[in-house]
């Protein structure tokens, strides 16, 4: 809109204000005359003309409403062009004179009827009313003259511009039991460009609404059978169609009913008889409202879809393939995460670093929803990448607390929202069951088995991640024995509320685990999930829920390797190499590896130095075995009889050249091994060295 047109608009608004100020006192005065007249005729018991006084009162109320509404609908309908100012003037005169026509006509008719009754109160009231009608008509003629406004262009053909200015079109259902009203309204609306369907009764209207996609309903209030109010109530109480805007049509003396309808959910009302401008404006508003409602519904649906996609994407961030158990992988894992909203802040993970270390963790981001989900995504990739990258690049298996240190410092760097994560992370050696666990502000893990009561594995508890740089974390060491399991969870489990507002609590969790007879992780997770479901029933889930169970399965010792050894000291190097390879594969401690290497050195050097009297090469055998509990070295050689168990301990001598077999080295062997076995079979020494792993500190 140009500046010039804005000022035209303002001028018109001022003019209308002036007209309203001039006419309103007359309109009010005449309304009160109309009411008096109605009362008077009632008291004089002119039953047959009572309807006419009602018509006069209604027409006067209509006039007053027209005057009051001058600056609203008319200005909205009026435009910025001068030629439409002409139309506004013409239409305004029409709208004001139409009720006056009724007032004048009915009044004159009543006067004729009263003729024979001579002077009466009614008579003088009618004369007064007619005189005021004439005054108002004169005022309209002199005052409803709009100034010719400046214009950029003047459009000549303007007859239809009143109707063609409809911008918002839609599909409208008109409901009225009166056929002629239906015809007038539907033709009027069709002319304005709307698509119109008609219904003669409430039930017919409801049928049409449920089967068609209407933008708006025009509903008459007074209908036989089901009335407008009843139809409206049914529409507004049916969620499928409650969004449909309803405009109630009513005569002016039905205002009480109109108020009821507005309270019952009607969007607007239209007084009868219809004013085309008002009709157009209100229908436009109603359809616009429906369009906005539809848009917001579509927006909600789109956001819902996006959230569901985010949920899928997030659930894909955690592994769902749970490894099958074998001798090579004797650790079973199962887990479950259940976000309270579409997107959650909880997560779990498990992954191998190298061949023998299974890392596992459960974490809980502060708060829930999308923001928490983003933070979770960032943390979940760090928690996996850090130990993997260290191992890949530096060959170093990090301790869990070292990983926590790194994640914490990283998360502290970009964290304006002050989000934080509690996390319990551990790694287990899949053959030995050695576990290291570090805790950043999380609930402790629970250990369960058939033999001992469920108990929590208390760990040193550091700050949650993301709060304070350089926070301290520590790894706690323990061993998971065969058939024992660990259960990790987030506080969404213990804080789950029942309908009675009771917490699920540690007690119920312990109890659920204690009752189990079998302990496969899948069963453990399923059992706790089910216990939670039974406990909470249909209560709303407030927090994300995450469960992870890990169990070490029983297995037999595995023969890992047999190697041939020469009967020279070179065999020491070979044995040592094999042991280091074994350690890399099975992850027993450096102490175990070093002890076994020393023992092997002793057995081999004893054989090489003292086992043979000939100068030939001999081939001996070393069998290396390992299981979760022990490392076993078995030497089979064809050297002379030598039983390390019974050989005397000989004090070191100054001259090593004269030293005998056995000696101080054998003392080492006896001391460093947990078991030492010997037998002579078929002219060969069978020497077995066993180192237990479960006592490893």
């Amino acid at each position: 809109m140009s500046h010039k047109n804005t000022s035209n608009h303002d001028t018109l608004a001022q003019k209308l204000d002036a007209i309203r100020a001039e006419l309103l006192p007359f309109a009010e005065d005449m309304c009160s005359l109309g009411s008096q007249l109605k009362q008077q005729f009632k008291s004089e018991q002119f039953i047959d003309v009572h309807d006419d006084t009602t018509a006069i009162a209604t027409a006067l109320a209509n006039l007053r409403n027209q005057v009051k509404g001058l600056n609203l609908e008319l200005i909205q309908g009026a435009s910025d062009q001068a030629h439409e100012t002409h139309i506004s003037q013409s239409r305004l005169r029409h709208d004001l004179r139409t009720p006056l026509n009724a007032v004048k006509g009915y009044s004159e008719m009543l006067l004729e009827s009263l003729g024979q009754h001579g002077e009466s109160v009614s008579h003088s009231l009618l004369l007064d009313l007619l005189s005021k009608t004439n005054t108002v008509l004169e005022t309209i003629s002199t005052s409803v003259v709009f100034p010719e406004l400046e214009s950029d262009e003047v459009v000549k053909t303007h007859e239809h511009s009143e109707m063609s200015s409809v911008a918002v079109l839609g599909k409208i259902l008109v409901v009225d039991d009166d056929k002629s009203n239906l015809t007038v309204l539907s033709r009027l609306l069709e002319q304005q460009g709307h698509e119109v369907k008609c219904a003669n009764s409430g039930p017919e209207a409801l049928l049409a609404i449920r089967s068609g996609d209407f933008d708006l309903v025009l509903l008459d209030m007074l209908m036989p059978g089901m009335n407008g109010y009843e139809v409206l109530s049914i529409i507004k109480n049916d969620s499928d169609i409650a969004h449909l805007p309803v405009i109630v049509i009513s005569a002016l003396d039905e205002m009480e009913g109109v108020i009821n309808c507005i309270e019952a959910g009607a969007d607007d009302y239209l007084p009868k008889p219809f004013n085309p401008t008002l009709l157009q404006a209100r229908i436009g508003t109603g359809i616009e409202r429906k369009r906005l409602r539809d848009e917001s519904t579509a927006l909600m649906e789109r956001m819902e879809t996006e959230l569901q996609e985010a949920r899928r994407a997030q659930l894909n961030l955690v592994p769902h393939d749970f490894p099958s158990v074998s001798n090579a992988q004797p650790i079973a894992v199962h887990a479950h995460v259940q976000p309270a909203r579409e997107v959650g802040g909880d997560f779990y993970d498990f992954f191998y670093v190298g061949e023998n270390h299974l890392w596992f963790l459960v974490a809980d981001v502060s708060d829930k929803g999308v923001a928490a989900g983003m933070f979770m995504a960032r943390a979940s990739s760090l928690v996996r990448l850090i130990p993997m990258q260290y191992f890949k690049q530096f060959g170093r298996m990090l301790m869990p607390h070292e990983v926590l240190n790194d994640i914490n410092n990283e998360l502290c760097q970009f964290n304006p929202e002050m989000a934080f994560i509690t996390l319990l992370s551990g790694r287990i050696h899949i053959q030995t069951g050695d576990v290291l666990i570090a805790n950043a502000g999380h609930s402790a893990a629970l250990e369960y088995s058939a033999n001992v009561p469920v108990h929590s594995l208390e760990t040193w508890r550091g700050h949650p991640l993301g709060i304070k740089p350089d926070s301290e974390y520590r790894s706690m060491q323990t061993t998971l024995h065969p058939n024992h399991g660990l259960f990790l969870y987030t506080d969404g489990v213990t804080d789950a509320l029942s309908n009675e507002e009771e917490y699920f609590s540690d007690d119920r969790l312990f109890e659920s685990l204690q009752r189990l007879k079998k302990h496969s992780p899948a069963l453990v997770v399923q059992t706790v999930k089910e216990a939670l479901r039974v406990f909470t029933r249909d209560a709303e889930q407030f927090d994300d829920i995450t469960l992870l169970a890990i169990q070490r399965t029983q297995h037999t010792a595995i023969t890992v390797k047999e190697v041939l050894l020469p009967n020279t000291l070179e065999a020491c190097r070979v044995a040592r190499q094999e042991l280091i390879g074994l350690q890399a594969a099975h992850g027993f401690s450096d102490t175990v590896c070093e002890d076994m290497c020393l023992c092997a050195d002793e057995i081999i050097s004893n054989n090489a130095n003292f086992g043979y009297s000939d100068q030939r090469e001999h081939e001996n055998l070393l069998r290396l075995s390992v299981d979760s509990t022990q490392v076993v070295l078995e030497f089979i050689d064809d050297g002379s009889f030598f039983d390390p168990q019974s050989a005397p301990i000989i004090q070191p001598q100054h001259d090593l050249a004269t030293a005998k077999a056995g000696g101080l080295g054998i003392k080492f062997v006896r001391h460093l091994t947990d078991e030492l076995h010997y037998k002579r079979v078929d002219g060969k020494n069978h020497t077995v060295l066993v180192k237990h792993l479960k006592h490893e500190a």
Binding site: R97, T98, N101, K104, M109, I140
Partner: protein
């Protein structure tokens, strides 16, 4: 009795004027919009038509043009009635083929006089 067709969309004004004309001895038939006005004029052949100009669907000007273009109805005199009371309306009504013009509110004696003039002219 003289048959008058009153084409008027406003319910109260239709009721009021039809009753007043009935009292004056006319046989009044009514139509509520331009299209039904045209239909009734053709089927009932009134002797005079009182046509409101701001009608829904087909307005009074258009209805008048149609009636005056149709051989079965072009002889029926039409008096335009409008509440707009703009000086240009009279010219427009006459240009559309109306035989006379009056404003609303209706001055009944004046309207009756105009009707009488037209009826006399037609019958002579």
């Amino acid at each position: 009795m003289t048959k008058v067709l009153l084409v008027e969309d406003n319910e109260m004004n239709r009721d009021m004027l039809s009753r007043r004309l009935t009292r004056k001895g006319f046989d009044v038939i009514v139509a509520i919009d331009g299209q039904s006005g045209i239909d009734l004029a053709k089927s009932d052949q009134p002797e005079v038509i009182l046509m409101d100009m701001s009608l829904p669907v087909i307005d009074g000007w258009e209805a008048t043009r149609v009636l005056k273009a149709d051989t079965s109805t072009k002889h029926i005199p039409i008096i335009a009635l409008t509440a707009h009371a703009m000086s240009s309306d009279r010219d427009k009504a006459l240009a559309a083929g109306c035989d006379d013009y009056d404003t609303k509110p209706v001055e009944l004696p004046r309207l009756l006089e105009k009707m009488q003039t037209l009826l006399t002219a037609e019958s002579s």
